[in-house]
Symmetry: C3
Subunit: 141 residues, 3 copies
């Protein structure tokens, strides 16, 4: 079988800060390519949201993750100057930088090699609703 490489994108509507699972979307794109061995690359095209792998069995893990990031990167730090879009503006960029914009998962035996409890989530850092675009590439044979 010859190597192939396919890129496509999809959108996700977010309704405030939090994590939104996209694992099934990523798996579906990988499956339609019929790649046995390769990689699936997930990329988020924004600077105020990011990607994160998190346990997807018990939602309490994500609740605590959100609470931790609210403390790690507080709003209204007196030294922030990039604030014209509101108190969640600069914290959203920093939280993005501390997590990921791209995640690459090998495809092993025809399936993205995510562990049993690994889900891929969009981590929305803005309070207002947003439409987020995710680009997925599958390369392999």
């Amino acid at each position: 079988m010859t190597l192939t490489s396919l890129s496509e994108s999809f959108c996700l509507s977010t309704s405030g800060k939090g994590t939104y699972e996209i694992t099934d979307n990523v798996r579906a794109i990988a499956r339609q390519c019929g790649v046995e061995s390769g990689t699936v690359t997930v990329f988020l095209r924004h600077t105020s949201a990011s990607l994160v792998i998190m346990e997807n069995a018990d939602p309490s893990a994500r609740t605590d993750l959100h609470a931790y990031f609210d403390r790690l990167v507080p709003e209204d730090e007196p030294y922030f100057t990039h604030t014209y879009e509101g108190a969640d503006d600069m914290p959203s960029h920093i939280r993005m930088a501390l997590t990921a914009s791209s995640i690459v998962v090998p495809i092993l035996d025809g399936t993205p090699a995510l562990g049993t409890w690994q889900g891929i989530f969009v981590f929305e850092h803005r309070t207002a609703p947003h439409t987020r675009e995710i680009v997925v590439n599958v390369t392999g044979k």
Copy 2:
């Protein structure tokens, strides 16, 4: 030469919190593929351990890294609710989210282009011994 893509996995036994080097394992898989130009993707299939690139010459850098993360994400935060596996449960997920689950290294002139001091490590965040599975994909020509 035609492009190739190979995925394979190996396991690592960890004996408590800390960093465990896997650079030689990754180099060996890349070498056996005979790829001159491409990428090697390293992926850890767990949510309570992660991957980190760290200086691999002087172990004191890793000692300080461990100490820093113990302070950055303390155990027993009163607001943690995801605690049924113990005090190291939720901190392990957060430390994973703050580091990496996938690392992609270009292959340049037949060799993964790691810098002189860059080692790839599994960053174990749990106190109890665990078996961790790492998946490696090599794609290129």
Copy 3:
């Protein structure tokens, strides 16, 4: 069109802590490959500098990012032991571990799929001037 995979490197001179944009360099390498669908992988070969995606329209976002990291990973922590290269030695490794060494961007319709405000930056963590080497791989068809 057949798949191709090309790796090449370039150097960047830094003049102290801060962020240095390399988006145009990455775009230029991707463009010369003529890949329609694939990935571009950016990798930094150092342990005291890293890569970060940040808003590239308003420089105040990066000013605040620098200030945040100065607070998140302070110099002269009394428990640091890895200090023989100075007060910025150990913090530089930790700041590297908290951001990224590799960023992978899908190529969609012949262009790296960066969002409107996403720039790729080298995040220099050392005070003294350094020469940093970046390796870029483009794989696709």
